[in-house]
Symmetry: C2
Subunit: 704 residues, 2 copies
């Protein structure tokens, strides 16, 4: 699942600069996102149909909710959770939910039960009507209710006379039935409570599949009763017990979310072999890998004992995870262990398997039969899509819409993750522009299009641990959630960003920590006792992002492993800087007004001044801390960017355009500052470059 | 336990102004606390004996810990928790604890087991030696180990070349054996996970008793199997199951903390009567009280069925809570229900009980016998200390050191809470100055002094809920913890504050939320999507505190009840503003240097300028939110304070002293600004008053 190493190293030099250019492009795209143009309804994902009403429903301590129609304990818990969340959003205390519709402010009606085990494609639609006197939410089954109450919660906001939900009529249903988030718990273990808060976040933005990548070269994360050496020898002690997983699955079901287990095979599977080397292709013994990348170990596809093991293993795991789908991985086998094993070579010859791809195809088909035997439907990465593979499998595409379209043309179901890799550091706008039915898929027939069921954002965890995973997933994941839920026509990044800011703040009330851990990590880096003590570091970190795509490996001073601490500035900073985005919106607004607006000019100047003066304070802070010290060069760059912007702004203010020479000099400063140091990018470079252009005789709004 | 209502209303007008004066006094006391004078070791509580060494022990990923000597599962968990916390503080990943001392960086040796149920007065001493090459922690039993590892964790800090612990030799033991925190879960229910994070905080500062005030007029919070109507009718559904309590008790024991249960009787007991009116003195029926204060309902001390009930009840609760001590409350009976009940009046006469005090004395002695019968030692508030009460009870003093001393003189054990009421909004310095052996207790004989076992800070919860309880307890509670642990001679508030800032930041890594929830609550009040969106509110809130003592009731627009939302500015702001304290330290430093220092002057000016300009931004923010709007008058005051300070600063800078008239005018502005509006005090008033004095011809450093 993904360009993880050798492919990537080759293209990343190009990509690094492409990324800078692209982020500039995105800044331009998002130039109209600001609080002025924010829509009245901060809903995310945007519902399918919204008809504004007049007035608003007051939300005070007298607010009550009644659940009517079909009842079940899950709905009772949903009602409690709804009130808890409404309490968190408002601080108000509410009476317990009732079944008496006659007096309730919000009446939630459920027609009937949903399936005992949530199925792909179940009805998630709902209608919600809010008037000045009350609100009604109707849904065919509990899934629609879960989606609808989240919409209602998003409607509630504080107003000059108290909390209120605006009057509105909404009819809503998802565009795609598979809206997932993949979390890689193999490379770095992610504790159950962190998964739970992310399930809360998924529920808030109406995602419905949590895909757990449960095994990889660096760790096996599930307790097996049949093969206990998997967790005993393959996990460093970091795994979920079966009881914890059952609890997690129930937690997810309560939120209308399926849990899709993935056990990657035949590659990415060293953690199987530490305890069970007999199913590997190499001579062993095996130890857990600490390095990242596409590594050699692979299961032995030519031995019956491998399939016997997998039959027992998949039988056990298929019972533990109730979902209909079972992900068998299948990506990135480099074939080296197969090539080095004479018996495997012999087997290939005697069975007329001409390549390692064909050998893997044989393996995949055997495993799919096992999965089918245990009543499940197999899902696998692009690689499992080989000629002759049965039609009931699901293709999970890390390669892109083209391979997805090719599969659909042959009648295979598919979901897209290419374009939704959260670890690459793309902007939300860039993910948002990726549509599962774009590119090659856009030319499919309607029937073929129906085979493309949705997609999954993917949180690969090489540089992700419990402290920073929330900030790597959120808020950007909300943009992908909208792409997968809302109509195809919902594409305006400015609108998306203005709603994303609101969602981001609210996610913290659900327990997500993308903003709070950022501050804590900075404070730790600085060794500061007070917020003032790390203010200069925060000013820097607020506008920095980690290097993009797969460039972190090559820019590392020492090779990173699974034991490398994730405690540096690059681990703390956001993957998409809000501050830098807001600055870019401000600059765009300034330029759009031909540099006339003095108020905006003053705001731009305040930011630039703060940056230009920051290095002095940063330097004194950095002297005390080895981790802060790493940012020294980036801090100097930031002050240079600030000073450059001020020069441009002065020229504009004085109506004295910069000469070509001056412009060249400033541009050269910016080019230098755009080069990443200690794996940090300074995002405002692009906007300041625009100011320099504007201040230059030949190009910009040089006369005020 | 406390002046809760009628006493208080009378004195609070005086107290309100006394509090302002006192906080000014404290500001002066703390005038030397700044980062310059911070000691090298940020230990809190300060150990009994510290001998600095030379060099430092490097803490990197190779750090290992070995536990030797006596072993038990609790110590294994302590070792894991120690490494988890060290990981949180550093972001480094460590190997699992071992028993092999030969290769470990830190060797922890435990001589023997402690008691199965933790007892008052058990040995908590430890010695800790850190050198450049390793560290040794020795303790007689697991309690000393728990205390010692916290000291080690506090030693670790980031340095220019990485994390390190300075070389040092420490021999440490507590001054008092009873170092408690009372949390009132009766008035507002506090969920178990909130209690757990507070237990983590207590462990960090070496407190050893969590006193749970489990019942009051507003709620009964424990599941009783014998009397299920207690929780079913008396809790609004908010109570701890017995299983949850057993889990909490085990969690506390792991941290060397006893859990002391309190069931308040015969007063403060409405929640008993909702389900069991037959033990009340009034005719019933009863409903949970929503109002605060000293209310009428009281148990009927003249009926045998009351004692039968309490015998069964205390028998059940005595088994659930393993601690030797059992708190029976006993405070604030107003006697009205007794006076109104003819049978009780008759009983008093026939039993020669001359007053309600005597009647309560009779009740207390009966209940104490029941407590004894169940193998427990009774603890009660001052009121239970009546002539003839047996010597094995413990007096818990809310009235003050005088009553504690009186009890000690008669041979009774006692603990102090007067002076440690966290809900009164005192500064840490003021709590810190309260010593259990000061005042009347200072004149006791040494043997009598030994009867005073320590104290408890008390978090009464009229205005406290799960969102803001951490910020009401922390960091101030750490100052009280130091008072109860460290030698009596440790009294310097400047040193205390500089260490408190460090502890405060670290407590957040344990999961406490005193800083993070503050931000979240402000963001909710403003209805802001981004930090910029509530910056003006934060500037105001950073220097505001709730009104002090018991004045919140009288300044309320509507009477507060247990159903009143705690979502206002006054609920969010800190009870002791760090920002205001740092400003006051800055002003004091400026004045101490005869107003000569231009750098300090610039810092003072920056703060004042920010405040003077804040009202414009605040006003625009407040227009959008009913909750923010409440702060309008206070915001105008803050800008007036800022402007006043700037006028004074300008006069000083220009060496043009203010005339008496000018000074009077500025003082009148400050006097106006010092009056609380919407229950908020602006703390910098005192410091700005000092600047005005300094700028005035007759008093200050008027010539630069």
């Amino acid at each position: 699942m993904g360009l993880r190493n050798f492919l990537c190293r080759r293209v990343s030099f190009i990509m690094r600069f492409a990324a800078i250019l692209f982020s500039l492009f995105c800044l331009m795209l998002s130039s109209h996102a600001n609080s002025q143009s924010a829509p009245a309804l901060n809903l995310m994902p945007q519902p399918a149909n919204v008809t504004p009403g007049s007035g608003a429903l007051r939300i005070d301590a007298n607010f009550t909710v009644a659940f009517t129609g079909h009842t079940e304990p899950r709905l009772d818990r949903a009602a409690e959770r709804f009130l808890t969340q409404l309490h968190r959003q408002t601080g108000l205390l509410f009476a317990k939910p009732t079944r008496d519709a006659s007096k309730a402010t919000l009446v939630v009606h459920t027609d009937r039960a949903s399936k005992d085990v949530q199925e792909l494609g179940e009805d998630e639609s709902y209608s919600l009507e809010v008037t000045a006197t009350g609100a009604k939410l109707n849904a065919a089954n509990p899934l629609g209710v879960l989606r609808g109450v989240q919409t209602f919660l998003q409607l509630v906001q504080i107003k000059p006379d108290g909390f209120a939900a605006p009057a509105v009529a909404i009819k809503d249903q998802p565009r795609f039935s598979w809206r997932g988030l993949l979390i890689d718990v193999g490379r770095h273990f992610i504790p159950g409570d962190v998964l739970k808060r992310n399930l809360d976040g998924m529920e808030a933005v109406k995602m419905n599949v949590l895909h757990l990548h449960l095994s990889d070269n660096q760790g096996f994360r599930v307790e097996s009763k049949k093969f206990p050496k998997l967790q005993e020898l393959g996990s460093d002690g970091f795994f979920y017990t079966q009881e914890e997983l059952r609890d997690l699955i129930a937690y997810a079901r309560d939120r209308g979310i399926r849990i899709l287990p993935e056990f990657d095979m035949p590659g990415h599977s060293t953690s199987f072999f530490v305890g069970y080397p007999e199913i590997a292709s190499g001579p062993g013994s095996y130890a857990l890998d600490r390095k990242w990348g596409v590594l050699d170990p692979a299961m032995n596809p030519t031995e019956e004992k491998t399939y016997k093991f997998l039959d027992d293993f998949i039988g056990e795991m298929g019972k533990l995870f109730p979902d209909q789908y079972f992900h068998i991985g299948g990506d990135e086998v480099n074939g080296k262990e197969w090539d080095a094993n004479p018996k495997i070579q012999e087997y290939k010859k005697s069975h007329n398997l001409k390549s390692n791809e064909e050998l893997q195809g044989y393996f995949s088909q055997r495993v799919q039969k096992i999965v089918s035997k245990h009543g499940k439907t197999a899902v696998g990465w692009d690689e499992i899509f080989v000629p002759g593979v049965p039609k009931d499998i699901m293709i999970h595409s890390w390669r892109g819409p083209k391979s997805l379209a090719a599969a659909a043309q042959q009648g295979y179901h598919g979901i897209l993750s290419n374009g939704y890799y959260l670890d690459l550091g793309w902007t939300t706008a860039r993910h948002y522009a990726v549509d599962p039915l774009s590119g090659a898929a856009a030319t499919l027939t309607d029937d073929q299009k129906k085979l493309i069921l949705g997609g999954e954002s993917a949180m690969w965890s090489e540089y992700v641990g419990p402290e920073n995973i929330d900030s790597r997933i959120w808020p950007r994941n909300a943009g992908i959630a909208e792409r997968l839920w809302s109509p195809q026509s919902v594409t305006d990044p400015a609108s998306m960003y203005s709603r994303l800011d609101v969602v981001s703040a609210r996610l913290e009330w659900l327990g997500l920590t993308h903003r709070t851990y950022y501050r804590k990590m900075l404070q730790r880096i600085a060794g500061a006792a007070t917020p003032e003590g790390f203010a200069a570091l925060k000013t820097l970190a607020d506008v920095a992002e980690p290097v993009k795509e797969y460039t972190r490996e090559e820019t590392a001073l020492a090779e990173a492993t699974s034991l490398t601490p994730l405690n540096r500035i690059v681990d703390a900073v956001s993957l998409e800087s809000d501050t830098a985005r807001h600055f870019s919106e401000l600059v765009d607004k300034f330029l759009a007004g031909s540099c006339h607006d003095a108020t905006i000019a003053a705001e731009v100047r305040a930011d630039l001044t703060r940056w230009s003066q920051n290095d002095a304070a940063f330097t004194s802070l950095a002297q005390e801390s080895s981790l802060a010290k790493e940012g020294a060069a980036t801090s100097r760059d930031l002050s240079a960017i600030g000073a450059t912007g001020l020069t441009a702004l002065d020229a504009i203010a004085a109506s004295k355009p910069l000469s070509a020479d001056q412009q060249a000099q400033l541009t050269s400063t910016l080019t230098e500052a755009a080069k990443p140091k200690v794996q940090l990018l300074l995002v405002p470079v692009g906007s300041v470059q625009k100011l320099v252009a504007a201040a230059t005789e030949s190009t910009g709004c040089s006369v005020k």
